[in-house]
Amino acid sequence: MTLFGRKIPIAFSLFVWFGLWEIVGRSGFSSFIPPFSKVIETAFVIAQTGKFAAAAAISLRSFAAGMALAIVVGLPLGFLMARVAFARRLLGMWVNIFVSAPISALVPLLMAVVGIGETTVVVTVFLFAVFVIVLDTQVGVQHADRSLVEMARSFGARRSQIYTKVLILSALPEILAGLRLGAIRGVKGVVIGQLLVAIIGVGELFELYSKHFLMEEFWALVMIVFLFAFAISESLAALERKVEYYAGSR
């Protein structure tokens, strides 16, 4: 972006909006909006508390478990649907429905079935993440260059070699995109799951802060969770850019 003929750094956008936030916060416009500087200060304070550490640990654990499950189920399912027409016909419609469905609506049901606790959160993360992983993997494998598969076969590749040496690498850009979108949804899954269950992890803290009008703490936690989601998404995006050089040349 340029302004008055000068290049404006990206950080400028952050400065403007955080500055605005600071002004609104200091003006005492609403008790729901504390000044930005206070929020950041509080973020550093609560990040050092034992309560936050415990909440973060539980949340990370649920997130990791749910994501691992989503990957372990999602990748093979995506491959299966790409390679076997019957699997595609059997599951395709459902994956497409669930990928766009508001999974949050199912969480109360999950609580009734799985119980109120960490397991519900793990399952929520799983459900949030798995469908987009399946879909992207399927698209990636289906769009894998057919002549590369033919080439591998002509040089005597076994079935397993076609997967490990051609299809997985060929679909890697789409698979990574699926993992990134899955991870972003997974973060939403953790927070929504924990908010609805309301007695564990970051969700418990959110509930606690908002109930007691601890707005500085509340916003500080929001910032931390946003930053976490952003960091995960960006690191996966960086990985994607690394493999993009060949995605473009397919």
């Binding site: 002549s147 590369l148 080439m151 002509s154 040089f155 040496k165 493999v243 473009g248 040349s249």
Partner: protein, 254 residues
Amino acid sequence: MQNDTAVEVRNISKIYSGNVEALREVSLAFPRGKLCTLLGPSGCGKTTLLKIIAGLIPANSGEVWVNGRKVDGPGPERAFVFQDFALLPWATVLRNVAFGLELRGMPPEQRNEIARKHIAEVGLAAFEASYPNQLSGGMRQRVGLARALAVNADIILMDEPFSAIDEQTRRKFQEELLDLLKHHRKTVIFVTHSIEEAAYLSDQITLLSPRPGRVAKTIAPGIDHSHGPDEIRRDKHYLDTVDEIWQMLKQYVD
């Protein structure tokens, strides 16, 4: 089967789903150590026939014999050069050329050594570490050719290998191919739709007629390659062959 026949197809028929008859009762012999061309207009099933010989697609009926044995799948004695090059975009030239050997489980040092030799042979020694998207079309097809040479198959199947390459590069490539084949005793089955290319390169040309693909005629141009390429292109015998093929194929062009 005679010993000097490398590949023979017997009564090959192929019908694609949707009742498209690609080949009907095609029988052909490809002599060892010769460059044989399958020539015809689009829709004559020449690529289909080549892929059936390669074992990449099954025929509905008929047999493929390679080196006196009936085959029904790909084999190490046949190597394929693809029209669209079919290079792994994430792998370097070296890894691409060694890929056939990698699939056979040859240890890296050994296969890289063989690959380097063939990369040098096709004139790409400086590009071992390059990726396919950094190379021109002509260079990519050199990689494809080196990959086929690396597995040391005695039969090389080439599917319109020069059709995606510009005319100048193509001519140079044709000469280099002939040069290369002088040193390796390979049997080459070459699919093309270019009459000039077929007449220039081939020891044997098979004309296929379209819909369904059938053998229309087999010609042995018998062009003497001891003269330079420019002389050959002015040679009366060469021009007559081109004309003879054109007279044959003309009727299939609407």
